[in-house]
């Protein structure tokens, strides 16, 4: 891309853009936007538009609420799902303080800080995300159900698969806004879909994940479906993950690849793997941020449970895809699409870099199915598990200074405060399962 101000102004004229969405992501990872008419564009491009930060979850206290939005010119995109007759566009923004410095509570600015830390060692993180989601039917009140099109019997006779059709439109729309979709397919569970897109740098990847979720929701609605990125929307079926393929580059060279090394993985790659594994328990609260996330991380559904790595097996947390050369990469399999992509990439990058800095060595790879092992065998092998619930993950986060540093104190404080509140609320609830099981028994 590499758009200049003049490019943006030209495209706004050419495409008859009437409204522009200034987008930012809050700490919970929810995309927020401030909509401006095109007459305000010049002001917005100058970074002079102010917004009330206190209106956004996890941002600031009331007394420090005035924040400035600084659009990233490269993110300028005409939205292909807008209304007819005129166009709408979006710009992703960084949040700045009135004093003109990046705001410590802005997840995007924070990821930039981590990217810069890697850059200071000459390293650039490349990320290829694969996002899974469900397409559900809605009921009369437009509320989402957990009925999928495959199971909603009355469509059986229709010649057209509603979900496939919707996904095709999503891929077309994503292509129009410059995503290079690598693969899109039907997943394990009925109604589950996956769209993976091409490698790009960490910041672009996070921007794309945020945009992706928005696009998928909008297009699903146009097909009468509700797209859900909830990690485990129903018991008994596979959950939705967000596997993150990642590698480090030095210029045009992939530093994870070393032709002569065992497995053709460089020392740096091994250190990175070790770093990610050693902080996995610490960063789970970020990559798997809601109580429901931990219902996905159970055995039997291709979701990882154990902190280990493998070249072949998909049960450990890190898998090394077979490709080498420029495509040498690791696939971190525990993140789910409920996470804030900016924070998730920041903590994984930081953990990997920490492994490189301290020269950590990973345990030997595991090339058999870990689900078959008994707890005693696992502990004999020294294989730990990911946290079992959000509470445990939060306690682990509090113990992990490296992950804390990746978030920065502002985000760390707001994040843990909000997450403890969420966990307590969940913990105190009486769930349907309990009432249906115990109400009559006791």
């Amino acid at each position: 891309m590499g758009a200049s101000r003049a490019d943006i102004e030209r495209m706004v004229r050419e495409y008859n853009v009437k409204f522009i969405y200034l987008q930012l992501v809050d700490i919970a990872g929810i995309l927020k936007s401030v909509t401006i008419p095109v007459s305000q564009l010049a002001k917005a491009l100058d970074g002079e538009l102010m917004f009330d930060g206190s209106s956004i979850e996890g941002y600031v206290r009331i007394e420090e609420s005035d924040m400035y939005l600084r659009p990233d010119y490269n993110s300028f995109t005409i939205l292909p799902w807008g209304p007819r007759g005129f166009s709408e566009a979006r710009l992703i923004c960084d949040v700045y303080t009135p004093e003109g410095s990046p705001f410590a509570g802005c997840p995007r600015c924070n990821l930039k800080r981590m990217v810069a830390a890697a850059e200071s060692r000459g390293l650039q993180m490349q990320v290829g995300p694969e996002v899974e989601f469900f397409l559900f039917h809605t009921d009369a009140g437009c509320r989402s159900t957990t009925k999928t099109h495959d199971r909603a019997g009355y469509f059986d006779l229709a010649p057209i698969d509603l979900g496939e059709n919707a996904r095709r439109d999503m891929v077309i729309a994503l292509d129009e806004i410059g995503f290079q979709v690598e693969a899109s397919h039907h997943e394990v569970a009925p109604g589950q879909h996956e769209i993976g897109f091409r490698y790009c740098d960490a910041l672009t990847a996070a921007d794309r994940i945020a945009t992706f979720k928005h696009a998928v929701r909008v297009i699903a609605q146009r097909h009468g479906l509700h797209a859900s990125f909830m990690p485990k929307p129903a018991w008994g079926i596979a959950g939705s993950g967000m596997h993150c393929h990642q590698s480090l580059f030095k210029g045009a060279e992939n530093v994870f690849f070393e032709a002569a090394a065992p497995r053709q993985l460089s020392q740096k790659a091994l250190h990175y793997i070790a770093g990610v594994l050693s902080h996995a328990r610490g960063f789970s609260a970020v990559t798997n941020p809601i109580p429901n996330s931990y219902k996905r991380l159970v055995t039997g559904y291709e979701a990882p449970v154990y902190i280990a790595w493998s070249e072949k097996n998909r049960s450990p947390m890190i898998r090394i895809p077979a490709k080498r050369g420029l495509s040498t990469r690791i696939e971190v399999r525990n993140p789910d699409p409920a996470c804030n992509p900016y924070l998730a990439l920041a903590v994984m990058l930081k953990s990997g870099l920490h492994g490189i800095e301290t020269g950590l060595t990973p345990p030997p790879p595991i090339d058999f199915n870990l689900y078959d092992l008994k707890p005693a065998d696992l502990s004999a092998l020294g294989i730990a598990s990911l946290p079992g619930d959000l509470g445990e993950a939060l306690r682990e986060l509090e113990k992990d200074a490296v992950v804390g540093e990746a978030l920065g104190s502002h985000i760390y404080d707001s994040f843990t405060e909000a997450k403890w509140r969420e966990w307590d609320e969940y913990r105190q609830q009486v769930h349907c399962w309990e009432t249906s099981r115990y109400l009559k028994t006791y």
């Binding site: 809605t138 490698y199 097909h223 009468g224």
Partner: protein, 200 residues
């Protein structure tokens, strides 16, 4: 007359039954009935009806939003059933995107005529859109060819006619549309400039 495939969208099941009977008696086929907006879209996408007859008080996704999708994606035209026949209530639907409006209680002859008119209008609109689309592509192609001509004139010191002939000959020899040849020439020209940034 007859045989149009109709999709009904109405929260009230009694009213749906009435309309369905009315249409079926005249040889129309009601292919599906939905009680809310998202359901209308699901049926519309899977069954591809010829026309959607929707109640203005559609729940879930509102009638206007549903119609916008039906029209944007060129699925089918929609007509709306207004709550009453007052000028006010009918005119309120002016910007709904519907290609016709009938008032409740629905009169069969009017409903049928409105449906048929909507389908015909939709067909004509579609033809115009196709034409515009073709013209747009032609215009884009023309622009690309002009640009490529400019590049050839400058780079190869050709006259305009020679540059055009050059493109034409290549296109004929390689059996590739001229615009595609022009695109390739522009691309080659761009890549001979110093690259903006290193590859991945």
């Amino acid at each position: 007359m007859g045989r149009l495939r109709v999709l009904l969208g109405d929260p009230d099941s009694r009213s749906r039954n009435r309309i369905k009977k009315m249409l079926t008696a005249d040889g129309y086929l009601v292919v599906a009935e939905a009680d809310e907006g998202m359901g209308v879209l699901r049926y519309a996408r899977t069954l591809r009806p010829d026309v959607a007859v929707l109640s203005e008080d559609l729940q879930g996704l509102g009638a206007n939003q549903v119609i916008a999708v039906l029209m944007d994606d060129r699925i089918c035209p929609a007509i709306l059933m207004a709550a009453s026949g007052s000028a006010e209530s009918l005119l309120a639907l002016k910007n709904s995107g519907a290609l016709g409006v009938v008032a409740r209680p629905v009169q069969k002859s009017l409903l049928v005529a409105t449906m048929e008119l909507a389908v015909e209008t939709f067909r004509r609109l579609g033809a115009k859109e196709d034409e515009i689309e073709t013209l747009k592509i032609q215009l884009e192609n023309r622009k690309t060819i002009e640009k490529a001509k400019g590049v050839l004139m400058q780079r190869m010191k050709l006259t305009e006619a020679e540059a055009y002939r050059h493109l034409q000959v290549r296109s004929m020899n390689q059996k590739v549309p001229m615009a595609q040849i022009a695109q390739a020439i522009l691309l080659a020209f761009e890549t001979t400039l110093p690259p903006e940034e290193g590859g991945r």
